[in-house]
């Protein structure tokens, strides 16, 4: 290993270890784009000189607002998405901000307001989820909630890709909901929050009644709980009983595609 010698005069300068980098007694020419030091997007123009790719550079520059939001809520890890979804698929998902409201936290300094958002995300074909977010600004709270919803996506079972398999009764806190399976063409005749969730999931025919508390947050959470956990598939029932199962609608009456 060569000992480093301080260059005092041109005659005592040692041979540069990194070509182009060790320039005796002076910094390298900052006006030129350096392949190692400058990490901004570069392109070689027609004459062969290295130049900053200004189009890519200025397009990349994030707006000030984005730089202020927290890192953890920004990124949706593709590995955490279910069923082989990619970030491109998420762009085409339905996003519904169902609840946006102003909450306040009482502190010694007084009432500290904050915006709360509950967003339901779904692909309209069996995959949906909901997320809640809080921030000082509505837009940021909605964005946080949307990202959390993307992380909480689950698959929902549907009969014929249009309705639930059977009637469901579910209670969540003080909210009781009765879901009823309905024939094709019936529509989603239910509470407006349940209606939005059904359109995100892809349920086309359902009847539902909310008994007790109609608190929006609890209605939404109750719906997700009921539709994801309380459905019993006919195949599982048949397997448990040791019976052969036949879908009369499809086999004997030939349901239309």
């Amino acid at each position: 290993m060569m000992a480093r010698q301080r260059p005092s005069s041109p005659s005592t300068v040692t041979k540069a270890r990194v070509p182009g980098l060790d320039q005796s007694g002076s910094l390298h020419n900052l006006a030129e784009i350096h392949p190692l030091l400058d990490h901004y997007p570069r392109k070689t123009d027609s004459e062969g000189t290295l130049k900053l790719d200004t189009d890519r550079l200025w397009a990349q520059e994030p707006p000030l607002d984005d730089m202020l939001k927290s890192q953890a809520d920004d990124d949706v890890d593709e590995a955490s998405l279910p069923h082989g979804l990619t970030k491109d698929d998420l762009k085409h998902f339905l996003k519904r901000a169902l609840i946006v409201k102003r909450t306040s936290n009482m502190t010694t300094a007084g009432k500290v307001p904050s915006m709360y958002a509950l967003v339901v995300v779904g692909n309209g074909d069996g995959i949906a989820g909901y997320g809640e977010g809080k921030d000082d600004e509505v837009a940021r709270a909605v964005r946080k909630a949307t990202n959390r919803a993307m992380r909480n996506l689950t698959a929902f079972d549907r009969y014929d890709d249009r309705t639930i398999f059977h009637d469901i009764d579910h209670k969540f806190h003080a909210t009781k909901i009765q879901f009823r399976s309905r024939p094709p063409g019936f529509g989603n005749r239910c509470n407006h929050y349940i209606h939005e969730i059904c359109s995100c999931i892809g349920i086309l025919d359902i009847s539902a009644k909310v008994w007790g508390s109609r608190n929006p947050m609890n209605v939404i959470k109750a719906t997700f709980e009921a539709l994801s956990s309380k459905q019993k598939l006919p195949e599982d029932i048949a397997r448990g009983r040791g019976k052969r199962m036949v879908d009369v609608q499809h086999t004997y009456y030939g349901a239309s595609e």
């Binding site: 398999f165 059977h166 019993k232 006919p234 029932i237 397997r239 448990g240 009983r241 040791g242 019976k243």
Partner: protein, 153 residues
């Protein structure tokens, strides 16, 4: 003389407690309903025994041992879930429910009939008819109506 809702309670509680088998009073009605449950696949076996365990060999019922006679039902579980979720009485002494075959057809289709909810996918109804204790769809095949004892899902 235990009524049919006694059996409903015992079966439902047995499944909720995740028991392997339960002992119910040995009566003709209990035996008939248990047979229907067995044919429908809710339980895996029906046998006679005493109050401690099912009989290994055949033991005839006599006035000496009648007090200890029980029916043992072997309960079924699949995928960490009980096969029978709930069994409830429909016809009660306070309000008897008797239906004709046409009304039973409504129930089988999933529609309400006589303030009784229709059958859900996988649900059965056990009724007593002139042809004996039958499941609802078996009764419809015979064109028979009767008193709906209980429903199980």
């Amino acid at each position: 003389m235990p009524r049919h809702y006694d059996l409903c309670a015992r079966v439902q509680n047995g499944f909720r407690a995740r028991l392997r088998r339960i002992a119910v009073p040995d009566t003709k009605m209990n035996l008939a309903i248990s047979n229907v449950l067995y044919k429908e696949g809710f339980i895996s076996g029906v046998s006679r025994g005493d109050h401690v365990q099912p009989d290994v060999e055949y033991v005839p019922t006599t006035p000496d041992n009648i007090a200890t006679r029980r029916l043992w039902l072997e309960l079924k579980y699949n995928n960490d879930e009980p096969v029978l979720k709930s069994m409830s009485a429909v016809s009660k002494p306070s309000k008897k429910v008797v239906m004709k075959a046409s009304e039973l057809q409504n129930l089988a289709a999933g529609n309400r009939s006589q303030f009784i909810k229709g059958l859900q996918p996988g649900e059965i109804a056990i009724l007593t008819t002139n042809y004996g204790v039958l499941e609802l769809r078996e009764a419809l095949e015979k064109g028979a109506g009767g008193e709906i004892l209980c429903r199980a899902i």
